[in-house]
């Protein structure tokens, strides 16, 4: 898996609602697309996305073959305490890509 872009505010007040936006580079190959010779391009998708903040999974999503390449996922959460957010994308093959971002909560 390749690059990911993560956007969240660097600082927030406790109790603030913050928006987190993620964009990950991935072909999201459906497994239904035929090549010129008739064989199918093997399925290769991310099937799960999770965001872990302060020890808890605050957001998770299951992804399916009809989702476009380079999935963009945005969600909101409440800033509770300073620390690290872990973003995890899991592929069909079990391959995992993780990214981290930090937030300072005052």
């Amino acid at each position: 898996m390749a690059r990911a872009l993560i956007n969240l505010p660097a600082t927030a007040k406790r109790g603030d609602i913050i928006e987190i936006r993620t964009l990950v580079q991935h072909p999201m190959e459906t497994g239904f697309r035929p090549l010129p010779n008739g064989s199918l391009v093997p399925r290769h998708i991310i099937n799960r996305f999770e965001c872990i903040y302060d020890g808890a999974t605050i957001f998770a999503a299951e992804l399916h073959p009809a989702i476009a390449a380079n999935p963009f996922i945005a969600f909101k959460t409440i800033a509770t305490r300073s620390g690290e957010l872990l973003f995890r994308w899991t592929e069909d093959t079990g391959e995992v890509r993780e990214e981290r971002a930090t937030i300072t909560v005052t």
Binding site: P27, M28, A68, N70
Partner: protein, 262 residues
């Protein structure tokens, strides 16, 4: 009927006289609009926000390639060109440019290729490959917001004329020229899709239909297949000439790389 024939004869005569410049540029300056303006609000928002613009992933990839030492020379782009934000600003806006060594027009992808094979002494990148597009996107991104100046070089006048002629020439089984749609019918619909004015402001673009980045040549190839004509090969001089004409036709418009298009 005879009036139309007269008109056709008139146009042919004008072309022969080299007055094509006056006729081909039928979109008044004040009415020129980027393909961006023809898109849905959602797609516009996608392009505007660097966080949701998938083309930015390729720009990041290009930035890494820019710093990577490769080839027998063991040099990276940055070793010669330094900080791209300074040295590459406005470069893509003036391409295709003139290659003095070969005395021909050369497009940005061609120039990167040339630098790679001669100065870095590395094997060439596949023309529409991921790395080539990423580098082109990174370089062109440095010109974002700058006005297009391509076609100002007097040494490119002949190529520009070739491009203009190709733009106006009917091709394919549908017997359509670029101008038939993009000059005469822009703003109308082709199926459900609006016909834009064909200003290459955002290339390489992230096209939602492709779900990947693609060059202007790939986009033109797409149109040519659409009118059931045989496309030129990637990097063919005809493509470079068309690119040059389109860029000069969009002269003064802002670069948007990486653009998002439906």
């Amino acid at each position: 009927m005879s009036a139309r024939r007269l008109l056709t004869a008139g146009i042919a005569a004008a072309l022969a006289l080299g007055l094509a410049a006056v006729l081909a540029e039928t979109i008044p300056l004040a009415e020129r609009r980027s393909g961006f303006d023809f898109m849905s609000r959602e797609t516009q928002a996608m392009q505007r926000d660097d966080m949701s613009n998938p083309g930015m992933l390729s720009v990041l990839e290009g930035a890494e390639l820019w710093r990577t030492r490769i080839g027998k020379a063991g040099k990276s782009c940055a070793d010669c060109h330094g900080d791209a934000a300074v040295t590459m600003a406005g470069v893509a806006a003036r391409y295709p440019g003139f290659d003095a060594a070969q005395a021909t027009a050369i497009d940005l992808a061609g120039r990167i290729e040339q630098c790679r094979t001669t100065r870095q002494d590395a094997p060439p990148l596949a023309r529409e490959g991921r790395d080539a597009l990423a580098l082109a996107a990174f370089v062109a991104h440095q010109s974002r917001g700058m006005p297009i100046t391509a076609g100002d070089d007097p040494r490119l006048a002949a190529t520009l004329d070739t491009g203009r002629a190709l733009y106006g020439r009917r091709i394919g089984q549908l017997n359509l020229s670029c101008a038939n749609c993009h000059d005469d019918n822009w703003g109308q619909k082709l199926g459900s899709a609006p016909i834009p004015q064909a200003h290459p402001t955002g290339y390489p673009i992230y096209r939602l239909e492709w779900q990947s980045l693609g060059s202007l040549q790939r986009r033109m190839r797409n149109c040519m297949i659409g009118v059931r004509a045989e496309s030129y090969a990637y990097g063919a001089p005809e493509f470079t000439a068309l690119e040059l004409f389109l860029m000069s036709r969009a002269g003064g418009m802002s670069m948007e790389t990486p653009g998002v298009r439906p």
